[in-house]
């Protein structure tokens, strides 16, 4: 799966979880979205792990700086690397 494909699937999850309309780009980060706080982040990770059938490792989602890096991390976990 490419970064673009992952981001498009992420878009559906964001549409479901966020009240405001968020348009995902690789550069978008949590700071750009008012609603994207530590609580929403928990819900987001639960949804992403469920949807992509992956498990993140401790601390690594916090290390991603934007949607692009988050998508790359998802790809790495899908490939088991």
């Amino acid at each position: 799966m490419t970064q673009i494909e992952v981001i498009s699937r992420l878009q559906t999850i964001f549409d479901n979880l966020f009240m405001e309309n968020v348009v995902l780009t690789p550069e978008l980060s949590a700071d750009d979205v008012e609603e994207w706080d530590s609580q929403t982040q928990i819900n987001l990770e639960v949804a992403v792990e469920n949807a992509f059938n992956i498990s993140f490792r401790v601390g690594e989602t916090q290390a991603t700086k934007n949607v692009g890096e988050f998508a790359d991390l998802i790809i790495r976990r899908m490939n088991g690397a």
């Binding site: 479901n16 979880l17 009240m19 928990i42 819900n43 639960v46 469920n50 059938n53 490792r57 401790v58």
Partner: protein
């Protein structure tokens, strides 16, 4: 990815999409579909999506009709989010029978619960919670000494750990009047320290089990245990704990257990003031035995230890008998000729249930919905106290449609699953068991005998005389508060105002001198009815207002109403009242007392009924009063 997960995922996504459209169209159908999906969803991620959707609906002004509201504080050694979101969602959309709760939450800070409860002037008490959910930290629930310490020392540490938690509950309840829902501790899943874990209280495994046991056995009645130990064992302890979620965001439980705990907590909150179901209405053929007695005959039905299927049906009967011994009434509703249906109970040697075990027995060819209505009427119980169990989906559907108040269970095709199916319905969960609960089944059978006597005696006054009724009228005593609160919260039909009170609120009525209050106990020559009426009056100048008047429907038309009024007038006069004021607040269930006050001689005034206390003549009845409140004897 497992191959089975894909279709459910797609269909969950489809439902989600459909729900979104309904939100956009502001279609009130949204709520019934949301409830359906919420009850069916077993996955935390999907549940959080549904919760988000409900919030979006609320933003657009789409809220569930007839919402009740409550105030819930969530405190503990963990991050309350997203557990509280799940609880809030399940309260709003995960309860059966069109009940919806709008919960306002106060979220405690991570691991600050002790200070939050102990500090008298903090935001916890300012919030005025009705319910406090407490999740004490597992880090304070471990033995810090040596494995080889004497057993007494280890036990005393475990008792102290439990006592400290219950102390917090006591303080929180005393300061807020809130009911406390206390989560106990999940069991650890890891092999270390090996089988030695079972031999010392110093192991987390044994220590937590011991503390949990102490919490449950010592909890006062306003503390309701959310049994996480049970839930973690049921789910599998390996899934109970998520180390990463703890390190990252201080989550209390793994995802699956989090949803289990949320469901249980929501169920506890939603049913705090509700009584359990009272009657199981049962089909016969392929429900209590295998086969059709009308076709297969007495010898042809499958029941008893001669075959595995017969054994399964017998075990279901035995479970029903055990429910009956806990005070649940059994009834039969079957499409059969009465004599054919009764025959196995009378003659088959392998049956665990007999005719005398049933409070009602309807075997005929009328629609089951009508028979069920009749059963409720015969037993003098509301339809919502009944549950209906059948193996036939068509019969379940008819009952759902024509008597929607009755909860239903469609039995699985495999009778070995019947017991577990019924056990998992959450229908017969006592909050606190009183001895009177256990006597109730006997009381209903006595009622049936009385009905027979009534039909044999035509003169009402002679009939009442023949009952040899005796009553005790007493002011509330703090010892009786649990039973009084229980009656206040479960009486629906003969209840003039339906004002609910927790045990703590009953205690505060006792302490307030502007109130007078009493309970009535009644017995007659057939048996003891126990506590059958509760009255609370409030003095407002020269007016004594009847704040609460409720009675058990089992004692209607026995002149108890008259005796209660006599006592209200006597107590009101002692307090200088010139008028008695009665209020009727209509609900869906208390139509039977609509004309209660006029029939007792009250005259209507705006929003109430009044009675002149001076001119009232004390009425004579066939009830002998053994005791009156406030030391009147």
């Amino acid at each position: 990815m497992s191959t089975q997960a894909v279709p459910t995922l797609t269909s969950a996504a489809d439902v989600l999409r459909h729900l979104k459209e309904l939100v956009l169209q502001k279609d009130p159908e949204f709520f019934s579909l949301l409830r359906e999906q919420t009850l069916a969803t077993t996955n935390t991620a999907d549940m959080l999506m549904l919760a988000a959707l409900r919030k979006r609906a609320a933003q657009r002004g789409l809220v569930a009709p007839n919402q009740k509201s409550t105030r819930v504080a969530v405190l503990g050694g963990y991050t309350p989010h997203p557990l509280h979101e799940l609880i809030g969602h399940l309260l709003a959309a995960g309860q059966p029978q069109n009940i919806s709760w709008n919960a306002e939450f106060l979220l405690g800070d991570y691991d600050n619960y002790i200070a939050e409860i102990v500090e008298e002037s903090g935001r916890l008490y300012e919030f005025r919670p009705e319910v406090i959910l407490l999740f004490p930290s597992h880090r304070r629930c471990q033995y810090t000494g040596q494995w080889t310490d004497p057993r007494e020392q280890q036990e005393s540490a475990a008792r102290t750990a439990a006592a400290q938690i219950l102390d917090l509950c006591r303080t929180a309840n005393a300061r807020s009047g809130a009911e406390i829902i206390l989560a106990n501790f999940p069991l650890p899943a890891r092999f270390d320290p090996g089988p030695y874990r079972a031999r010392t209280l110093a192991s987390d495994w044994n220590f937590r089990k011991f503390v949990n046991l102490e919490l449950g056995l010592d909890a006062p009645s306003y503390v309701h245990i959310c049994d996480v130990e049970f839930l973690s064992a049921r789910r599998g302890t390996i899934r109970a704990w998520d180390a990463r979620a703890w390190f990252e965001t201080k989550q209390a439980y793994g995802r699956d257990l989090m949803l289990d705990v949320a469901r249980e907590a929501a169920h506890l909150i939603a049913t705090l003031r509700e009584s359990p179901k009272k009657v199981v209405v049962l089909d016969l053929d392929n429900t209590l035995w295998g086969g059709v007695v009308g076709d297969d005959g007495l010898d042809g039905i499958e029941i008893g230890d001669t075959s595995p299927r017969g054994e399964a049906f017998k075990s279901f009967q035995q479970y029903l008998a055990s429910l009956a011994s806990r005070g649940v009434l059994l009834a039969v509703c079957s499409k059969n000729d009465h004599d054919k249906a009764a025959e196995p109970f009378e003659k088959h040697p392998e049956m665990a249930l007999r005719m005398t075990d049933f409070a009602a027995f309807k075997a005929n060819w009328q629609p089951k919905s009508e028979n069920i209505r009749q059963i409720a009427q015969d037993l003098n119980l509301g339809l919502d106290s009944l549950v209906f169990v059948d193996d036939n989906p068509a019969e379940i559907e008819i009952v759902k449609q024509f008597v929607p108040e009755v909860a239903t269970l469609l039995l699985s095709p495999d009778p070995s699953e019947y017991v577990a199916q019924l056990q998992d319905m959450h229908w017969f969960e006592p909050k606190t068991l009183t001895a009177e609960d256990l006597e109730r089944a006997g009381q209903y059978r006595q009622e049936a005998q009385r009905q027979e006597l009534l039909s044999s005696v035509t003169d009402m006054s002679a009939y009442l005389e023949s009952l040899e009724m005796q009553a005790q009228i007493r002011e509330f005593r703090s010892l009786d508060a649990p039973r009084i609160s229980q009656l206040i919260n479960k009486s629906n039909q003969f209840n003039l105002t339906t004002r609910r009170r927790t045990e703590a609120q009953v205690l505060s009525v006792i302490e307030d001198p502007s109130h007078f209050h009493f309970t009535v106990r009644l017995a007659d020559r057939f048996g003891d009815y126990g506590l059958i009426s509760v009255v609370i009056g409030k003095m407002e100048g020269e007016i004594a207002e009847i704040d609460t008047w409720l009675m058990s429907c089992r004692v209607l038309k026995r002149q108890v109403e008259e005796e209660v009024l006599n006592e209200i007038v006597r107590l009101a006069r002692l307090r200088g009242a010139t008028r008695i004021r009665g209020v009727y607040l209509p609900t869906a269930k208390n139509g039977m007392v609509k004309d209660h006050y006029p029939s007792l001689g009250f005259t209507p005034v705006p929003d109430a009924f009044e009675l002149d206390a001076h001119s009232y003549q004390i009425r004579s009845t066939k009830i002998r009063i053994l005791e009156r409140p406030y030391d009147a004897n």
